[in-house]
């Protein structure tokens, strides 16, 4: 039991930090530009696939730097030539543009790399167990993932709190038009923020690629959970995104490792009643409902506290 708790906590924090790498970019982009970037998870997928391809060509470590830069450049191009053109048609058009983009990116990835999972391996340097805890070998690569996300988290915090650029971004989170009135080149700030946000998503993709599955449906699987994170955390709140990422990371990780069901608590139903909705609900395990837990949380949060856990403004 203790083993389960420790391992699940580690994995949950790891998944949560990965989610935060994505949701931080998404929430900053949303706050500044008012655009919910539907394609954000697609940039994460692009990061994983670029990382895989570059790893095959030039090795993992250069890929870890290069792939996010490439994806960031793609992101900036999307902002400059796509979103900025669409801005005059309103937010719905912008949201739909990113929706179409997410669809197109998935198709391009499928066209180039196919639908099967890629053979994206952990680099040899990190392919050993970091430590053994209650007979479970915890892989060093996962510790490396945790390290990278924590380092980026701290770097992001320093940039946002201690630098002039961070000051502008923070101001734009709450008073976007005031920042523009003060004479900052908002267009360039937007492009930069979009580029950095997508590059962060790509970092998450490169490091998560070997540990999770690198496949053309990874964006479609993660994308909705990402939206849950930023809505639950509160749209436009970075601390909220952080806590919601950890919460959902832990929630899902713990849920998949639990096998309990109503039947195991209260005993099985009388078999003579036959198959019905009740038996479905009675016999389903917590592990089986793990994928829907984030959405249940979303609906609950929106009913009880519509601005999210730490959000301040309603949209």
């Amino acid at each position: 039991m203790l083993e389960l708790i420790v391992i699940s906590t580690l994995n949950g924090v790891l998944f949560g930090m990965l989610l935060f790498l994505l949701s931080s970019g998404l929430t900053v982009i949303f706050s500044m530009m008012g655009v919910l970037n539907f394609a954000h998870a697609s940039f994460y997928m692009l990061g994983a696939f670029f990382g895989y391809q570059l790893t095959r060509w030039i090795g993992f470590w250069p890929a870890l730097i290069l792939a996010p830069l490439l994806v960031g450049a793609v992101g900036m191009a999307v902002e400059r030539y796509g979103l900025r053109q669409t801005h005059k048609h309103g937010h719905v058009a912008e949201l739909l543009l990113t929706f179409g983009l997410a669809f197109a990116i998935e198709q391009v990835v499928q066209m180039i790399w196919g639908k099967l999972p890629m053979d994206y391996r952990v680099p040899e340097l990190l392919d050993f167990p970091a430590f053994t805890i209650f007979s479970t070998n915890y892989p060093a690569y996962k510790m490396f993932m945790l390290l990278v996300s924590v380092v980026i988290f701290i770097a992001l915090l320093v940039v946002l709190k201690r630098t002039r650029v961070g000051l502008i971004v923070q101001a734009a989170l709450t008073h976007p038009s005031m920042v523009a009135h003060l004479g900052h080149n908002v267009g360039r700030v937007f492009m930069l923020v979009f580029g950095v946000g997508t590059a962060l998503a790509a970092v998450a993709g490169v490091i998560a690629g070997p540990a999770l599955v690198t496949q053309s449906d990874m964006a479609a699987l993660l994308g909705p959970i990402l939206f849950v994170v930023i809505v639950v955390g509160g749209l436009g709140s970075l601390p909220g995104a952080f806590f919601a990422s950890l919460l959902i990371g832990l929630l899902q990780t713990f849920a998949v490792s639990m096998n309990g069901s109503l039947a195991s608590v209260f005993g099985p139903l009388d078999p003579s009643t036959g198959a019905s909705l009740l038996t479905d609900v009675w016999n389903v395990t917590i592990a089986q409902i793990a994928p829907i837990l984030p959405y249940v949380l979303l609906v609950l949060v929106l009913i009880v506290r519509p601005m999210g856990l730490m959000g301040t403004r309603e949209t």
């Binding site: 949303f30 919910l36 796509g82 053109q85 669409t86 005059k88 048609h89 309103g90 937010h91 719905v92 058009a93 949201l95 739909l96 543009l97 929706f99 179409g100 983009l101 669809f103 197109a104 198709q107 391009v108 066209m111 180039i112 790399w113 196919g114 479609a220 909705p224 939206f227 849950v228 809505v231 749209l235 198959a275 019905s276 909705l277 038996t279 479905d280 609900v281 389903v284 089986q288 409902i289 994928p291 829907i292 959405y295 249940v296 979303l298 609906v299 929106l302 009913i303 519509p306 309603e314 949209t315």
Partner: protein, 434 residues
């Protein structure tokens, strides 16, 4: 939002001439629904028409949300799918108990199922409009789609639940075995639903929906609750989506988890938006285009969904009013008789635009051939002209067409804009306004 959805023509300003045009448009629509399957008699075209009819009802119901109330939903397939599932269960129950309910009434089961779930889910999700509504609809969509795989006894797991539409009592000797009979059932419901949904836009509620879309704050000032109006609109959308879902279940004689999924929600969004949300007939147009693309493109190319995405992005970026707006934009010019002023500019612009499109298609197909690993042997047929994917001349042609076409097209479209302004000014001088 306001830019996307220009106001509908005023209900009071109708002249006799306009009334004739209005009834003629509906007459042509009904005639087309009745006569098309008699003109195109093959079984394949009957199947196509059936799919278009279902897609048209579904897209129209979606437009109650997006076009009329300004609610962007990413989970509209939930009501379509639940309508389909309840219709299948209803049909099985009718057949098992020998109830005297003929097939044409089954879509009502789906409709009321959609309405019921709309009533339950809508109250929470329509509390807010905009992004929050979009996110809730996405979350609920995922929730229902994932639950459908857990509640196996109702949703039948991955295989779904099958039914047999001919087991139901026959009506006037029709047992709805042949596709043509199913088509007429769908056509009947298409006409009824289209008229009902059009009538809805003319009611005070329909008008208040438009007001909530354009300025919810002002709606509150005049004493309405925007939440209630959004909620009612949501329930109606659910009802008609349920009818479409039930018709799909009748057509395919199966309901499975794909009916409720994100893909289905995305397709209806694509269809409605490509067709155009600001005109009532837009979603019908979009349903026709998207269904035809799905059926035809998939025969021609393996990467057809990519073209689908590119078309959608193109519409969002360059024609956010959809195809309907592109057509209706020309109405004042046609009336003023100044359309001929821009036709030459169109004819000039269309050549480089088509060449650019060919360049893009060629590029995509070359890439597809290479990534599928059969570049050496594959030949791309573009308008019956064979291109060898591995031949550098083909690459050159693709590059020249794409890059050259892009710049020449951009130049000629400036000419179109100038000609458009001239024609519009001339139309205004003759007293016709947009």
């Amino acid at each position: 939002m306001t830019e996307l959805t220009s106001s509908a023509p005023s209900p009071t300003g109708s002249t006799p001439a306009r009334n004739i045009g209005f009834y003629a448009a509906w007459g042509i629509f009904i005639l087309a629904v009745v006569l098309l399957p008699l003109i195109f008699r093959s079984g394949g075209s009957h199947t196509t028409f059936s799919l278009i009819g279902i897609a048209a009802i579904f897209a129209l119901s979606y437009n109650i949300l997006l076009g009329q109330t300004g609610l962007l939903s990413f989970g509209h397939a939930v009501y379509y799918g639940l309508g389909g599932f309840l219709a299948v269960h209803g049909m099985n129950a009718i057949a098992a108990h020998g109830l005297p309910v003929p097939l044409p009434f089954v879509p009502l089961i789906g409709g009321f199922a959609g309405l019921m779930f709309g009533i339950v889910i809508g109250w929470v999700s329509t509390q807010r409009a905009g992004t929050v509504f979009a996110m809730i609809s996405l979350g609920i969509g995922e929730l229902v789609a994932s639950s459908s795989l857990i509640l196996r006894s109702f949703f039948g797991g991955e295989a779904g639940i099958t039914t047999n539409r001919t087991d139901l009592p026959a009506l006037f000797g029709w047992n709805f075995g042949p596709q043509i009979q199913v088509y007429y059932l769908i056509g009947f419901w298409l006409v009824i639903s289209a008229i009902a949904m059009y009538a809805l836009t003319r009611t005070p509620l329909g008008r208040m929906c438009n007001a909530v879309r354009d300025n919810p704050e002002r709606v509150q000032f005049i004493g309405y609750d925007p939440h209630v109006i959004r909620y009612l609109s949501f329930c109606f959308a659910g009802f008609f989506a349920g009818i479409a879902g039930a018709l799909a279940a009748i057509n395919f004689e199966i309901a499975n988890a794909a009916y409720l999924g994100a893909v289905q929600s995305g397709v209806v969004l694509f269809a409605t938006f490509i067709g155009g949300v600001s005109y009532f007939f837009g979603p019908i147009l979009g349903a026709i285009v998207v269904t035809m693309l799905q059926l035809e493109l998939s025969d021609v190319t393996t990467v057809w969904q990519l073209y689908f995405g590119i078309i959608f992005i193109g519409i969002v970026m360059f024609a956010p009013g959809g195809l309907a707006s592109l057509l209706m934009m020309h109405r004042p010019l046609v009336r003023a008789g100044t359309l001929s002023m821009i036709l030459p500019a169109y004819l000039i612009a269309i050549v480089p635009t088509l060449l650019f499109a060919c360049g893009v298609i060629l590029t995509i197909e070359i890439l597809a051939a290479y990534s599928q690993g059969n570049a050496a042997s594959s030949t791309i047929r573009l308008f019956r002209i064979p291109f060898e994917a591995a031949n550098p001349m083909t690459w050159l042609a693709a590059a020249v067409l794409t890059i050259g076409g892009f710049f020449v097209a951009r130049m000629t479209w400036r000419g179109v804009t100038a000609a458009w302004d001239r024609a519009m000014t001339a139309a205004r001088e003759r007293g016709y306004h947009a």
